[in-house]
Amino acid sequence: MLEIRLNGRGGQGTMVAAKILAVAAAREGLHVQAFPEFGVERRGASVCAYVRIARQPIYERGRILRPGHLMVLDPVLLDRPDLAQNVGAGGWIVMNTRLAPEAWRARFDGFKAAAIDANALAIEHRLGSRFAPFVNSVMLGAFVRAVPFVACDTLCAAIRENSPAKPDANVAAALQAYRDVRLAAAAEAVWATR
């Protein structure tokens, strides 16, 4: 089972990103769950969402205590030393940051690092405002490159279907992120061949 945690800030599209990961997986016949940290979400506050994806029916419910991978939508979180505390060893940290992965991966020993300047890319594609860009589609493109649990085409279809506005710009941003994300390790197949 693939278990993912998303860390962001209210207004960046964290919850929508979690839902899109689930929709993309469902389109490829996988079983899914997507849910927010159970609480009250507010614009600007720290938010957290979770996704479970599996080939078999998923019986586990509730908060993911040891996620396999992390998607970080809020660049400020790079400075939080406990960011990857409960993440399983060897997992990917896909980070929204201007910094190259080589500049920060030593902070997260035992993890694989991927970096994309999602704020800049979102602004370039006119997603949200300059001061509060919607970075979720960009992060999704980057994440699926690092953790290829579905085909990029499937992700794009899921983004198109679930974008509250500007579906073309969201898909274009995701595709550019898929190409441009900097990986500090080789991406590996998620599912063993059947």
Binding site: H31, F35, F38, R61, R63, R160
Partner: protein, 380 residues
Amino acid sequence: MAGPATAPQTEVMMGNHALSHGALRSRVQVIAAYPITPQTQVVELLSEMCASGRLAAEYIKVESEHSAMAACIGAAAAGARSFTATSSQGLALMHELLHWAAGSRLPVVMGNINRAMGPPWNIWDDQTDSLAQRDTGWMQIYCADNQEVLDSVPIAFRVAERVMLPCMIVLDAFILSHTAEIVDVRSQAAVDAFLPPYAPRWRLDVADPRTFGALTEPEPYYRLRFMLEGAMQEALTHFDEAHADFAAACGRRYDALAGNARAAVDRLREEGLAAGLLRIRLFRPFPVARLRALATRARRLCVLDRNISFGAGGIFAQEIRSALYGLPGAPEIRGHVAGLGGAEVTTDMFCDMARETARASSCADLVVWKGLRDAPQHSA
């Protein structure tokens, strides 16, 4: 992207929206509701469906849950299929009218998202809100996943309208209400064949005036209460029939088991512990005969309650003890309380509870508290 008509009709949706889609598919005619966390999305989506014309229902905005239930009672009495949804304090505010709906024999269907009662203020999962309405004469269905939430709406209306009792569909705050998963939103035609229009024998009608719920002498009142209990018992048969017909129409059966307990059973069996799982979907009417038939397969039952009747322990444990009393070969029952106010109940905790139940020298404790860190040594 809308798929071709032949594609499977699945959507990734949260439990709250599954409830709204269930009401849509059941062609409800009147919705009266007041928003409360964590129920809000149920009525948000229904109000959008009404505004866009997708659902041809009267959406009545009200100033409280008490008024919401009052409006549903009036609408059902006038012959309209009526739906509402609430949670926790909202359900408590309806309490008087819950008795009124059941006593009037009106088949209102309501979603309740289990949320802890305050104070202290808490928005998370806890079943005490709905279980505190146990004796109001409402049927209660507890759901394990979002598909079951959606499907339970037409099933609830069908049984409710046959036995003329209201029905509550209950789901966990956040664990279902805010969790998106794959749900099949079956064709309308299949639901229409399963659930005919609501056609009550008696209704408010100016052309045929009658009195409803007026002052009633003790003897006829007593007789009406006997009839209400009879309707509850008949509902057991109607649920069996509805589940079978639903399986035939939509290909889904409601003997499915889900959740962390199921994951725990798989793990315990790998360890060599002969564990099984019994989930209670129907709480009112309580499936006593079915429970008695299944219970003797086990030497001990490990019961988990995310609720408490203060002074008497977990409510499901009490109900199960009562149902099995005097049964030859009945298992011993170890009742656990866990997860009140949304505290995490993990697969590991289920495994621990089952192992402890298997090993315990006796099951005499009224209640075993699980997952309680730093248990206070004083009570005031």
